[in-house]
């Protein structure tokens, strides 16, 4: 008799925490919004540090939940090539937005903790971005319904494991075993998405800075906001390039007999990369008209990033999970 009772209890515990999570996230939405309208370095630093600690605490709870799954979901059977064990990644389903927020906070840590003069110009627009991000995470939180698709799979697995050696049950377990091996535990799964989320983390902080530059029509050579925006995009671009490239051999392996190269999600990902590349090239002539175009490109590239993120759910094709 296989029982995942500990897993179910852990999941229910997370669900019980959902209202507190939502309340705290909405609180940070308000606090960061207030920080945007009446900014002071000290206030923003305080809000940032507390929000980071809160987010880290909830991330710790997710880690505990994943460890629980690792300890509980264990199947060993003669028809399996090896024992089945699962440690889910943090960048799937309902957890990916929260993971993105966590990385964004880590990425902006040097900005908020720096005591350099004039950085309030940078942290103020970033606090607006965080305010919106906290609102989004309040709506799409990872606690109300933790990892719904995986939960469905685990419930089916539990049923199959208790159904004796029927062909359907064995078939399901074997299928799940290979899904764990080639999807959840694939080496690429642990490199490709986290690298992309790391790049998104830098881009999400750079976006409000570009927006501010456009609104203020400031395209100066030695501008704090412009320099920080560029530095963030350059860092994000590094992760984006590596992340996208690592996806290539994975695609070759996973979609061996499928035409994936021009499929919609791949298209929009390459498009986003091309626009960030265009931004970085345009920015070579800082202080010129080209730099102002490049700022527009910075904003446009982020719009395409959001589109690329949503494409997984909205567009058809091999990379679609909608």
């Amino acid at each position: 008799m296989v029982s995942f009772v500990d897993y179910h209890e852990a999941r229910e515990f997370l669900q019980a925490l959902a209202p507190y999570f939502k309340a705290l996230m909405s609180l940070y939405f308000i606090l960061f919004l207030k920080g945007f309208f009446s900014p002071s370095n000290k206030y923003l630093r305080k809000v940032f540090v507390f929000s980071l600690l809160t987010v880290a605490f909830f991330f710790g709870l997710l880690l505990w939940f994943h460890l629980k799954i690792y300890n509980v979901v264990y199947l060993s059977a003669g028809f399996l090539p090896a024992p089945l064990r699962l440690f889910p990644p943090f960048w799937i389903e309902t957890e990916k937005l929260f993971f993105w927020l966590f990385l964004s906070q880590l990425a902006s840590l040097p900005l908020f903790l720096s005591r350099k003069e004039g950085l309030i110009e940078v942290t103020k627009p970033v606090s607006l971005a965080f305010s919106i991000f906290f609102l989004v995470v309040t709506i799409f939180d990872p606690f109300t319904n933790p990892l719904p698709k995986l939960h469905e799979e685990l419930s089916m697995l539990e049923k199959a494991a208790n159904a004796g050696l029927s062909t359907t049950a064995v078939g399901y377990i074997i299928n799940f075993f290979y899904r764990v091996k080639y999807f959840y535990h694939s080496t690429y799964m642990w490199i490709h998405p986290p690298l992309l989320f790391a790049s998104y983390a830098f881009f999400v902080i750079a976006f409000p800075l570009h927006l501010k530059l456009l609104i203020n029509k400031r395209f100066l050579f030695e501008d704090t906001i412009e320099n920080n925006a560029y530095g963030l995009v350059a860092l994000g671009y590094l992760f984006l390039t590596l992340g996208l490239l690592v996806g290539y051999p994975w695609a070759l392996e996973a979609w061996k007999n499928e035409a994936w190269w021009w499929s919609p999600k791949i298209n929009v990902s390459i498009m986003m990369w091309l626009f960030y590349t265009a931004y970085l090239h345009g920015r070579i002539y800082r202080g010129s008209k080209l730099a102002s175009y490049s700022t527009y490109l910075g904003v446009l590239s982020f719009a395409f990033l959001i589109f690329t993120y949503m494409a997984t759910y909205l567009l058809p094709g091999v990379h679609s999970y909608g």
Partner: protein, 194 residues
């Protein structure tokens, strides 16, 4: 010369953006047809479309390679030599394109460019007139662009070839290492000196 550099970068920026829009158009086209045909991605129409797009993408790819050669002047070669080399490359690519098709043309041009960049890289490293603070970003830029050239080579010309993945990983390494030195080279040198 400063004006020319400006126009070259502007042309590069515009080409990248237009190339990006090409991918957006492709996505819109596929989305439109997939709406009325759920099996569109398994159909011959889709296969024909991908073949068409592969051919179409060669144009901006070649344009970017030519711009890359012209922009080499910004990094280390002199302008006259860059114009000469790019004119030579344009002629070679057109001849190869006409006789052997886009795949061979792109492959040969990319191999030529990579070789030329390697030569410039060695020249830059051996040069004593450029200070370290400038040398590292310039070297990084050369490495990065060599990496991207090799990526195009591995995708376009080495597709399904046994060397495709080794070339791809080498190109990935060069692209990332080059990006680090190109974007943060001056900062790294400053920190090392401090």
């Amino acid at each position: 010369m400063g004006r020319l550099r400006y126009w070259l970068i502007l042309a590069t920026t515009i080409t990248f953006s237009l190339f990006g829009f090409l991918f957006l158009l492709a996505t819109a086209y596929e989305w439109y047809f997939a709406r009325s045909n759920p099996d569109y991605f398994q159909s011959f129409d889709y296969l024909a479309f991908t073949n068409f797009m592969n051919r179409l993408a060669i144009v901006p790819s070649l344009l970017l390679i030519i711009l890359l050669i012209l922009c080499l002047e910004i990094r280390s070669a002199d302008l006259k030599r860059s114009i000469l080399f790019s004119s030579f490359t344009i002629v070679v690519s057109l001849v190869l394109f006409y006789f052997f098709g886009g795949k061979t043309a792109v492959g040969s041009v990319v191999a030529l460019v990579s070789g030329y960049q390697l030569y410039l890289f060695v020249k830059l490293i051996l040069s004593r007139s450029i200070e370290a603070g400038q040398k590292l970003p310039k070297a990084g830029s050369l490495i990065l662009h060599t990496g991207f050239s090799l990526l195009i080579l591995s995708w376009v010309s080495l597709n399904e070839h046994p060397y495709q993945l080794p070339v791809f990983w080498l190109a990935t390494f060069l692209s990332v290492a080059g990006s680090i030195f190109s974007f943060f080279g001056s900062w790294i040198v400053k920190k090392l000196k401090a």
